[in-house]
Chain length 452, copies 2
């Protein structure tokens, strides 16, 4: 069974957010599920029973009363995943955290801590913070611009990786006879001085079974892609149509190779919200129901605002041409905002038409009876659109239908694992364990590209 | 049983640190216990079985190869305690975190997350960071001075408390009929603009069963005491002799009352490392063994250096008078450093004599057969030296001897609980639940002093 296999991660939705994610209306889901650790433990255990690669927790640090953040009321990803860690044994645990609004020492330490608590299953989804309003929670009137944000992100990851190598793997002989707990020659300062950070080190925590947490990234701009090619080992990709996904996939693999890295060592995950039914018809009906329920005009208007810094579009005439708001997207959702503006201009759309069309963004190609969904997934996979899928389900039932119906088919076709072959995230993703840079230097190995 | 009762918390020691905490030499303790989450879960469950109030995790963000940090290789407190939370049900979980090297939004969020994960059992030990070298891990050449550090700490706690009240307790009607998940009138921005921070809010997480995490503090300087009187609900106090502890206790209670707060609403914990034996003699022999093992000259010299910013005293002539190093303590361990310098001057001590005398600092008044230890604890308690004890044990056996031998006696005397009367930390400590400030304002209640 040497067939290349698909990776699957679970992206848990929150419940609530004004008008969004009708999960809270589902009588089977607790209203406070998004702050209930048992909800996440339960989902994680279901994902692990299905042999998924990871639980992938997205994040935002900005809300307001009308803003459709994924969910309003949420646990912080690293505390959440640490609690989940001790109730799972093989599932990867990927935490989204901002390189714009954190300090490298502090965040590197928390990620390393999760990595040890989980026995080598931590991942970090590096985001530069989509929601521009976050800046005002951190003392900045304005969100940093793209160049600064991605420059900072790159240096942040370099510093974190340096800190994660503070202790070599043989740093603690704990030799009672020699009265030697630590071998001080195996503990290293970093003494990083860069454009954005000065960090002396060492970090006061050692490496895990997978060496270092896996670096993910989610960002579609030119800057985001360049950053991914440089340092990411996984991507939460934008998806889109099959052709768009293909183009993106090829672009990232090409850039990664051009950066001197092995393109197999960057795993591209697209978003997927499969809707599975007993028959294709039933599934399509269910998809339409979900679409109709979520397709609330107020919600769409607010969602539109998100790409423009939580801008309140309701101040404009809905039936006038789409307003001139390009300047609002400069620092936040520039990529999606630009696409919206260009389409509005090309097709001469009013604000109402733009907002109404937004619901359709979340149509999924993976709808139907189990075989149909498995076929679609296989087609997309073979077409070179992804290495993995980040799966999000509106209800627990949808997850179960996918796991019980589709996963066994993928497995029969040799497209998905029949058992975990590793108990680290790197192991299951097929990523190499980075050699400690100090050990490598001593042994003459080139570890300058630790992740390749 | 209306007798005033003692609170007990467990302060887990790490293993290792060069020459310090011989725990790593104990064949019953795993060498990597300080990064093994099972070690902490196991200790926490033992503490909970004994009906202790809390697990109290200290912290530092500075190490070097010769520096006796409590332990070199450690889990980050908030990820650690989140993992412990789901394996306990009543035990308080107190995380030490620095107000000097964190951002209020980020830290308030992580603490609130722990508070929800644990069902209302989180505490925050606010420190301004003892180890001056921490600054260089956060881009600062020098540790902030006392005034700035404590000014920042006070504003930090005020901002955190403001953020924790972002959602009123009835903010989520989740009313399907009215299609109303969030009641937007119950979500509040903070819009704090102060000397050290500008934070808009709201925080994207709601309050726990105990309203807000409990604020602890650990600092003995004038600035530290003023800060405690203003905002702390618990203190990890320096201890010392019975008379010193009495004086400190009276001082803090007086200051707290002078700040307009109820002095019962600040719980003073002293450090205690009881050594219990079958007989008084056996216990004293064991204490001497522990003392001798820990009383390593190199370790004492490094420990001395800790109060002077990890200063390396070995560059000085050991047999010359204690060197003039007062300036080194200005920003770090000023209180302990000043005491050391004054004693050296008064008694005309050499550097060697000062270092040798340091081992004695950790002598404990709680040594003997179970009855003897219980008597000593009762005497100290009745003398008004503490409300609680933060217990630290060199081995798991020492903890068990205390729990099995001394705790039942305290219980029989009505000095310690026979069952948990609450499942929140505030409930068990006898601290009031802070009313949400916005609810209070609407209802005309004065919540300006939320913690009193
Ligand atoms: C699939 C996907 C998931 C994302 N998840 C997050 C997230 O959880 N938190 C966040 O702040 N940004 C998230 N982002 C946003 C990116 O980090 C980035 O800020 C945004 O896409 C704008 O930058 P860009 O123009 O480079 O894409 C996500 C983006 C994509 C495409
Ligand atoms: C019993 C006790 C425990 C302490 N625990 C910590 C700790 O875990 N982390 C830390 O950085 N400082 C800790 N401190 C130090 C204080 O936060 C403070 O920085 C130090 O005492 C110097 O300030 P001061 O002169 O106000 O005491 C502790 C102090 C005491 C007395």
């Amino acid at each position: 069974m040497s067939r290349r296999q698909i990776h699957l991660a679970l992206h848990p939705y929150g419940v609530g957010g004004p008008g969004q994610h009708g999960l809270w209306k589902d009588p089977r889901v607790a209203k406070d599920a998004s702050i209930d650790i048992r909800y996440y433990i339960d989902l994680a255990q279901a994902a692990e029973a299905a042999l998924f690669d990871a639980l992938f927790v997205v994040d935002s640090q900005f809300i307001n009363a009308t803003y459709p953040a994924h969910y309003l009321n949420r646990l912080e990803p690293l505390t959440l995943l640490s609690a989940v860690a001790t109730h799972t044994t093989h599932l990867g645990l990927v935490a989204t955290a901002s390189s714009t609004y954190n300090s490298p020492f502090n965040l590197a330490r928390r990620l390393a801590s999760l990595d040890l608590i989980s026995g080598g299953r931590a991942g970090w989804n590096v985001v530069t913070s989509f929601d521009t309003g976050t800046s005002r929670n951190y003392g900045l009137e304005e969100h940093l611009d793209y160049t600064t944000r991605y420059g900072r992100a790159l240096e942040f990851v370099e510093v974190a990786r340096g800190l994660w190598d503070s202790y070599e793997d043989d740093a603690f002989p704990a030799d009672v006879e020699r009265n030697l707990f630590l071998d001080p020659s195996r503990l290293h300062e970093l003494n990083h001085v860069g454009e954005h950070f000065s960090v002396a080190g060492p970090l006061n925590i050692s490496r895990s079974a997978q060496g270092q947490p896996v670096i993910f990234q989610a960002g579609v701009s030119e800057e985001g892609r360049a950053f991914a090619a440089e340092v990411a080992e996984g991507i939460y990709a934008p998806g889109g149509s099959l052709e768009q996904a293909q183009t993106y996939y090829r672009d990232i693999k090409r850039r990664t190779a051009a950066a001197g890295r092995n393109p197999d060592h960057i795993k591209i995950f697209i978003h997927g919200s499969p809707v599975v039914g007993a028959t294709d018809d039933e599934a399509r009906r269910r998809e339409q129901e979900i679409f109709d329920e979520d397709n609330d005009f107020g919600r769409n208007l607010a969602l539109l605002g998100r790409s423009f810094g939580a801008y309140d579009f309701s101040v404009h005439d809905l039936d006038a041409p789409f307003p001139d708001v390009a300047h609002l997207a400069e620092r936040g959702g520039r990529t999606s905002a630009t696409a919206i503006i260009e389409r509005a201009r090309r097709d001469n759309l009013t604000l109402r038409q733009v907002a109404e069309s937004l619901g359709g963004f979340r149509r999924t190609p993976f709808v139907g009876a189990p075989d149909t969904v498995a076929d679609a997934i296989e087609t997309w996979f073979e077409a070179g659109t992804f290495d993995g899928i980040n799966l999000a389900f509106r209800t627990r039932e949808e997850l179960d239908r996918f796991v019980d119906g589709v996963v066994p088919i993928l497995r029969r076709r040799g497209l998905f694992r029949t058992e975990y072959t590793s108990d680290t995230l790197r192991g299951n993703l097929g990523l190499p364990v980075p050699v400690n840079r100090h050990a490598a230097a001593r042994e003459g190995v080139d570890a300058s590209r630790v992740a390749s």
